[in-house]
């Protein structure tokens, strides 16, 4: 899968970095033009199969013990064996924590972004706090939240929300603020009030950037959920991890990690799909 067809053959030898960048740009342009699905899905699948093959080869040839590093078959065997017992309900619990935490995070992020965007005073007051909130180590606040809120879902929601909201806010504020100043002026001469400019111009043009933030946040959501469960829980994939690891039940650990990964990818793909639906114009022939 070389992106060669796009790279200009006659151009003077570019630096490897520039070449890579242009290849990436070409690949992205191709994806936009509607590459068939199989061409987008095939490369990662091939890579996955390769990794799995090497993994199994190492485990089998090296006679690695299952509790140190389980073979792929054993991970899946453990997954199916434990699915109805613990994994299904644990996945469901963690999924809810991720989803609701993410939704709370989006709500808070949107409100804060609009506040920061619409007033310089609020920007000065809120932005430093937002950045400060990211310096607080989640490992530390997890147990504190567990003490305050107990083992229920609420401390997990808070941790997921805290882990997710920063990339959403930063990208949304950037997106809202990066509208062409001439366009804002056009809106003023077309009788656009500030609110009209916000909702007819700034919000729509910030959407692609907003979705970039959401996709980054989607990667943090499962991490936040697992941290929350580490701090104190009775169910969830983080709970499974914390139980299975000291028991050297390594294949179950891997099965739980696999489920987390799959949820993360599904969330990411869902957001990419939503972005396509919401901003069909994005990246199209901008001049």
């Amino acid at each position: 899968m070389t992106p060669a067809p796009g790279t200009p053959g006659l151009a003077p030898p570019a630096s490897p970095d520039a070449k890579k960048a242009s290849a990436r740009k070409n690949a992205r342009a191709a994806a936009r033009r509607g590459t068939p699905v199989w061409r987008r899905v095939l490369p990662p699948v091939i890579v996955l199969i390769l990794i799995a093959a090497i993994w199994d080869l190492v485990v089998h040839l090296g006679h690695v013990q299952d509790y140190i590093f389980p073979s792929i078959e054993n991970v899946f065997r453990s997954l199916f064996k434990n699915w109805s017992g613990i994994l299904a309900s644990a996945t469901w619990v963690t999924f809810q924590e991720m989803l609701y935490g993410f939704l709370i995070s989006i709500t808070v992020a949107v409100v804060l972004s609009l506040a920061v965007h619409s007033s310089a005073t609020l920007r000065g007051a809120i932005y430093p706090l937002l950045i400060g909130s990211q310096a607080v180590p989640i490992v530390v606040i997890g147990p504190i939240l567990a003490i305050i809120f107990g083992y229920g879902i609420s401390p997990k929601l808070i941790i997921v929300a805290i882990s997710c909201f920063f990339p959403i806010v930063v990208n949304l504020v950037d997106g809202l603020g990066s509208v062409d100043p001439d366009l804002i002026k056009v809106m003023r001469t077309l009788d656009g009030s500030r609110l009209a400019t916000l909702f007819r111009v700034e919000v729509p043009s910030a959407l692609p950037s907003f979705f970039s933030g959401l996709r980054i946040a989607a990667v943090y959501a499962p991490i936040g959920a697992v941290f929350g469960e580490y701090a104190g829980s009775q169910n969830g994939l983080g709970y499974v991890l914390i139980q299975a690891t000291p028991q050297l039940n390594t294949d179950l650990v891997f099965a739980a990690v696999l489920l987390l990964t799959v949820m993360s990818i599904i969330l990411f793909a869902l957001l990419s799909f939503l972005e396509k639906v919401c901003c069909p114009w994005a990246g199209k022939g901008r001049k």
């Binding site: 001469t189 077309l190 009788d191 009209a196 043009s205």
Partner: protein, 262 residues
């Protein structure tokens, strides 16, 4: 200049009047001492070397900006907000909203004025048709050519229903063939629309084709260096105009003035 002879008090038909207007950005004096009057429904072209403050002047007239010195009056309005209410401004780049189709972009001002989306769209349909864009009504900007986008942009400006149109190098970003095409198209569109128009350009032919008066500005700090009236037959085609002796003489004169200015 309060004692200007021959203009008693406030004539109701006043168009645009600038008196000793100056504007500086930090140490850069963009324009200084610009005095300029034009009648209601007049079509004024302003040419000048790039960087001489043409856009600054247009921004000041529109009310998007206010001068440091001097006074501005647009159809009787002197405060920036009142001027904004009378002026529509079209910049060089089309700046259409990429998520709105042609109708949606054209209807933007009506929606801003409080009209419902559907009503606004149906109201502009007629104008879209008149401008030869009816088969593109539902196309998004990225599906249009540069010339068409600029036409939609002009349409959007027109729909705002302002008495004054301020066009800042509206065709500067287009290739020469499309530009020639659109210049002529705009000439006929403006003849049908009796609006006060100020066009900024650095293209002499464009200034002559689209203005009934042409003002030449000097290099920065921009001042009014010369002013010419044009009167070419309204029905003439572009090629006929370009062959007219008066046209070519004036063009050469303007080019010479422009060279002096820069």
């Amino acid at each position: 200049m309060t004692s200007t002879a021959g203009s008693p008090a406030q004539e109701p038909e006043a168009g645009i009047r600038l008196e000793e207007v100056g504007r500086a950005f930090g140490p850069t004096v963009a324009v200084s001492g610009v005095s300029l009057t034009m009648p209601l429904h007049g079509h004024l072209s302003i040419i000048g070397p790039s960087g001489c403050g043409k856009s600054t002047l247009l921004n000041i007239i529109s009310g998007l900006d206010d001068p440091d010195e001097g006074t501005v009056e647009v159809l009787g309005a002197t405060t920036p907000d009142d001027r904004l209410r009378r002026c529509a401004w079209m910049p060089q780049r089309d700046l259409l909203l990429p998520w709105r189709d042609v109708l949606g972009n054209a209807a933007l001002a009506l929606e801003n004025q409080g009209m419902h989306r559907k009503a606004a769209r149906s109201q502009v349909t007629g104008l879209v048709k008149r401008f030869g864009l009816s088969s593109f009504e539902r196309k998004l900007p990225h599906q249009l050519s540069g010339g068409m986008r600029q036409r939609v942009s002009f349409l959007r400006t027109l729909v705002a229903g302002k008495e004054v149109l301020l066009l800042d190098e509206p065709f500067g970003a287009l290739d020469s063939i499309t530009r020639a095409d659109l210049q002529f198209w705009l000439r006929s569109a403006l003849l049908e629309e009796p609006r006060t128009t100020v066009l900024v350009t650095h293209d002499v032919e464009e200034a002559l084709l689209l203005g009934d008066e042409v003002v030449v500005m000097s290099a920065r700090p921009g001042r009014v260096a010369a002013r010419y009236a044009t009167s070419f037959p309204a029905g003439a085609s572009r090629r006929e105009l370009l062959r007219l002796a008066e046209f070519t003489e004036l063009r050469d004169e303007l080019l010479a003035r422009l060279e002096e200015a820069s």
